[in-house]
Amino acid sequence: MTEPVLRVRDLKTYFVSEGGGTARAVDGVSFDLYPGETLGLVGESGCGKTVTSLSLLRLVPEPPGHIRPGSLIELEGRNLLTLSPRDLRAVRGNRLAMIFQEPMSALNPVLTVGDQIGEGAIVHQGLSRRAARARAMEMLQLVGIPDPELRIDDYPHQLSGGMRQRVMIAMALVCHPQVLIADEPTTALDVTIQAQILELLDRLQRELGMAIMLITHDLGVVAGTADRVLVMYAGQVVEGGSTPDLFHRPVHPYTEGLLASVPRLDQPRERLTGIPGTVPAASAWPTGCRFHPRCPHAWERCRTDEPPLVEIAPGHSARCWLVEEPGRRRPGASGVTR
């Protein structure tokens, strides 16, 4: 069995508000990321998926945020949470890189794309400016930007949204990281451009062998790209498994509800089931199972006792009391006809 390249154990990232309340944005997340795989992290806004990704790079602003003692983020055997700022800088953008949702705000508007792409190679690999420019040119070619010799001196505003996202990918990959965190990399893009970027990430992963953590709200994007999927709700992982398991044999009512909410091109048009209610606030997670106020199956136990994340089949786990008491399931209530 290969060793995971990234191990996360019991990650807790809390934010203290001015009023003294604590928002438990990420509340005990654990997972392994293996070399060369794509792990999808799915959830709706407020579930903690972006704070998880920012925590992995230690980019959570402190204060108001902090990662709780007892959390572990281990990259290639080194605990990132105990690294000095200097050692951390040597890891970020080098072994572990990130691409963000909004390429316009993540790129520096007053530097040319060539300078921005080359910067990582100068900082981490000690390349000269001339060598960094040559590397930036290679990267532009690699990410499929036409006429790279012209584009290398462009500023971000001169590029389209899709091209900017390619530039950001080039920037992230310039040092050939082992792990790429992609936070909603295609959400701001049109569907035809999204398809181009997803295909690009897939090709680059095969060529460079990196592991990708793909964070998205779009179940369609995950189904088409991820090997394994984690579903987050209210700061916790509520279900995890291989992509086929998760889409064809979901166990957690939240996963079922998400799947029943998506309008689909591949199935007959019928009324969507949706999930009643809204995601609770991170400062006031419900007691017991955090999904119970929106769950169609919930009973007494769900209101008082918090279910653990348990393995129900090899590689497939869920955080739900229905695992212990399947008889409580109300048939058809989650809107799943499978």
Binding site: T192, L259, L265, D266, L272, I275, T278
Partner: protein
């Protein structure tokens, strides 16, 4: 032909582009946002208008409501010529047509409570006053699935889905016949999106509303639309019933859109057809067929580079703007 509730013919909207001489001179070129769009929507039906950013779909919405003035074209709403109305009759007609915006965060006044937001149109159109007005506000909130107690809340106290319900209630307050929904669910989470789509479908049924439903998401449009028009660079390139559009798309752009849309099923290993290149700028559209630089059609030839294909009926009720629409 029976008169439709909504008839749009030859709608054109050009914006002046970047100006010469430090912004003081004449525009360098026109942004051709909408270039001759025509459609009809029967009473109680939904037309889905689909396209990517820059296709002109939101400009269509804004010109129909005269939130921005059209350059040319005609729009009949219940046989009234909207584009030729003077300000006062236009204000009166606004009761008959309303819009729901994409972003429920920026389309509600942050300093007005939900009650004030819903009262305002009733006051402007003098539809109700006093206790009756408050009863209407409560009924509207209930109709869109909100607790009437939320009337005292400010927008920042509401979730995105709740705000969008307020936006819908505001549009419905004046009892319109025609509702333009401009990306009404694209800013919402998927579970909330489903709730709002269901709400829109219920309201249509209950009130007999006619929708122009604008979206970039083909699956969402398929879910709600009876007919579909696909826009590319300011023009409709395909127009048909929803069933025909999704089952037998005739335009290569529609086919590419469908093929690129992600499907939440890992077993659906489709032969994804990835278009190369970006959407060209509407300030400088390509000659000939506007889609030809990205078109993957195997029969693409010199004609596509010089002759712009007209939107023509390929089979009854199914129009496409492609020289090779028969060879789909």
């Amino acid at each position: 032909m029976t008169p439709a509730l909504v008839e749009v013919e030859g709608l054109v909207k050009h914006y002046p582009g970047e100006r010469l001489w430090w912004g003081l001179g004449p525009p360098r070129h026109l942004i051709r946002a909408v270039e001759g769009v025509s459609f009809r929507i029967g009473a109680g039906r939904t037309l889905g208008l689909v396209g990517e950013s820059g296709s002109g779909k939101s400009t269509v919405a804004r010109t129909l409501l005269r939130l921005t003035e059209p350059t040319a074209g005609r729009f009949l709403l219940e046989r009234e010529d909207v584009f030729r109305l003077a300000p006062e009759p236009l204000r009166r007609l606004r009761r008959r047509m309303q819009i729901v915006f994409q972003d429920p965060y920026s389309s509600l006044n942050p300093r007005m409570t939900v009650r004030d937001t819903l009262r305002e149109p009733l006051e402007i159109h003098r539809l109700a006053a006093g206790a009756e007005r408050d009863a209407r506000v409560a009924a509207l909130l209930q109709e869109v699935g909100l607790d009437p107690a939320l009337a005292a809340a400010y927008p920042h106290e509401l979730s995105g889905g709740q705000r969008q319900r307020v936006g819908i209630a505001r549009a419905l307050s004046v009892q319109p016949a025609f509702l333009v929904c401009d990306e009404p669910v694209s800013a919402l989470d998927v579970s909330v999106q489903a709730q709002v789509l269901n709400l829109l479908a219920d309201l249509q049924q209950r009130r007999g509303l006619t929708y122009l439903f604008i979206a970039h998401d083909l699956a969402v449009v398929r879910h709600i639309a009876d007919d579909v028009a696909v826009m590319y660079l300011g023009r409709i390139v395909e127009q048909a019933s929803a069933a025909a559009t999704y089952e037998r798309p005739r335009h290569p752009y529609t086919r590419a859109l469908l093929s690129a849309a992600p499907v939440p099923d890992p077993a659906a290993q489709r032969q994804r057809q990835v278009l190369t290149g970006d959407v060209p700028s509407p300030a400088n559209p390509p000659p000939g067929c506007p889609f030809h630089p990205r078109c993957p059609h195997p029969m693409k030839n010199d004609r596509c580079r010089t002759d712009r294909p007209a939107l023509r009926e390929v089979e009854p009720g199914h129009a496409a703007a492609c020289h090779f629409a028969e060879h789909a």
